[in-house]
Symmetry: none
Subunit: 203 residues, 4 copies
Amino acid sequence: MKAELRRQHILDCAKQVFAEKGYYETYVEDVIKMAHIGKGTIYEYFRNKEDLFFSVLLRSLQDWKNAIAISHEEIKQLSPASYFHLRVKRSLIFMNEDRQLTSIILRTGFGFNPHIQKFIGEFEKNLQNQILHDLRLGKHLGFLKDNVDLHVITSILVGGIVMIAAHYILSEPVLSDVEVDKLTNKIVYPFIKGIFNENNLRE
Amino acid sequence: MKAELRRQHILDCAKQVFAEKGYYETYVEDVIKMAHIGKGTIYEYFRNKEDLFFSVLLRSLQDWKNAIAISHEEIKQLSPASYFHLRVKRSLIFMNEDRQLTSIILRTGFGFNPHIQKFIGEFEKNLQNQILHDLRLGKHLGFLKDNVDLHVITSILVGGIVMIAAHYILSEPVLSDVEVDKLTNKIVYPFIKGIFNENNLRE
Amino acid sequence: MKAELRRQHILDCAKQVFAEKGYYETYVEDVIKMAHIGKGTIYEYFRNKEDLFFSVLLRSLQDWKNAIAISHEEIKQLSPASYFHLRVKRSLIFMNEDRQLTSIILRTGFGFNPHIQKFIGEFEKNLQNQILHDLRLGKHLGFLKDNVDLHVITSILVGGIVMIAAHYILSEPVLSDVEVDKLTNKIVYPFIKGIFNENNLRE
Amino acid sequence: MKAELRRQHILDCAKQVFAEKGYYETYVEDVIKMAHIGKGTIYEYFRNKEDLFFSVLLRSLQDWKNAIAISHEEIKQLSPASYFHLRVKRSLIFMNEDRQLTSIILRTGFGFNPHIQKFIGEFEKNLQNQILHDLRLGKHLGFLKDNVDLHVITSILVGGIVMIAAHYILSEPVLSDVEVDKLTNKIVYPFIKGIFNENNLRE
DNA sequence: CATGAATGAGTGTTCATTCAT
DNA sequence: GATGAATGAACACTCATTCAT
């Protein structure tokens, strides 16, 4: 139990440093100093720097999954649009709260050494899958227009949410619930209504 | 002039290697070998590795600006929606053609050491500004709905386009004009019409 | 008594690991795992890794001495040549049986950090002393030729026996009594008869 | 050419340090300091520490082969016994002169990590092969007794010569030619004549 | 101007040993 | 006594940068 606590403590520190400096500019020594542990200690808990980084991500992945998941009861009570709305909102809430993870994902980018990249991809894929699933459901139930490409929409949404996180969340102090709500609306609205006025759509 | 040619040659090689391996996993030696020059030579043209990277980006930035620019004549002849459509299309075309730059931007992520990050931001800001400008114009002329937050929409679009590039462009062989057209439509459509059917919008 | 048993158990394990991997490539952890004891425990019985290694050797040294010793009764009943023969045979028997120790001696070489080297030397010196003693006795009784340098012969014999152990014993499954007998003869014979025919010795 | 000189210089220094401290207790930094070069420089010439060690041995292996080789002209003019005598003498001369290599071989022992051990084996095998070849020739020409096991004799000789090197050469200041001659005789003699008097051989 | 041999500050990692429980 | 989590000195090796030629 004691050991598990220490492991968690190291992960907390590592997460913070990785979030601040990115993988390559983080030195194992930085984590050690922040965690106030000996140099050898970190290798008792993690095979190497890469494993430490993976472990940080792995622990957060589950949190993320939980955070943006929508329960069966909720599903029943929601209209398609509010369902979609909720998913976006929960993503923003999570990113708003776990800024360190968000920073790591953003900093890490889509490149990176292939090992690590595959892992980062997990996160996107997860968000992507959840949203794709929502949209599929909506389409199946006839809520969505027929000529909509779900995969493309999903990519746009994920990319959009991530970019919003970069500009409207990470650079600001933690947002209030109301602010997150407003942000959610601003994202969801155009997908629901479109952004052009009816009379300007003849092209 | 001979010197300028050599500089360009180094930049070409550097761009390719940075695109393949990312900044940190690219060694100056890799660039040197590809360029068939001596180890010291590169430092005749660039202060250091960071400067080399910046220079690669700097050269491409102008290309990008030109690529997605829309001329005054074009502006006059376009409806708001096709204007928006054209901007997205040109972005995709550019990314489809300059895959190395696209890969660098994607690999580099939004984080990075602060120096470099600021620079990568330039690219996004540029795309962002162009799109924001389009939307502002549209709004001013009454083509856009009133309650649309232009900055948020812009971020979503930029993030969306980048993510589309990652999934639909970089992982595929170079797309044909027709394919780019189709992709553009799939992106633009939901913003124009929304994705939900009218009768499902009561929330 | 319990403690002594444990100490012996650790020594047994250490001997095995040192025999397999040599001093430097043996990690204290290897011994601990094999002995199924805690990491700190080994330091209750041995000051440090070097002391552990010494202790393994020390314990075996007495075994070796006993193994190649020839009793007073035996001495009386043996001709000088068979006496010499018996000494060589007992050395081979011991090496054939205690392969772990033999391996340690061979692996350790004659060099090593000076501390340990002195200790390894003990083993050789012991074999050396016994053989030297035999030869002296033989010379004293007029059994040996006058112009034989006993120290040199002794060194050759010890070196020879060790090398034979390396090539004919360690690399084979445990030899039978008969095989050891044959090997002994092959070693002893040339020293008794020489290897050249009489008529080829004009030099 | 300059580069080759530097490489040789590093090898010289490495040889000396390896001879003094053995492989494991030699630190790359020791070699660097002795060679008065920068830390990175050694890795320009050798892949890693192991490669450095191999290279030291490799260079000396040829020297050794040359040193104990006997030319065709010499072969014709020698009696079998003096031929054998010459081989032993040349081995001693080489060991007497190249004490660093001799020390490395002795220190390294037969153990070691398998990679390196294989290499050390080369040296012994080389000496072994030359002597075995001599003895075979002798037997073929009828100079050697029939019931002599050449492989066993060879092992004894190699082990004996090495042990003599350890006790009579390395621990002493460099021997004079006369001293080497005497030592050679003391080794060769018993193999030629045997060491027991005729009348003591009934066993 | 071009070169590449030389450099060394900086990194990740190991492993014998300690000491609080 | 017995334990094993914690430690840090030690070590091999990297790679951006320099400078004599």
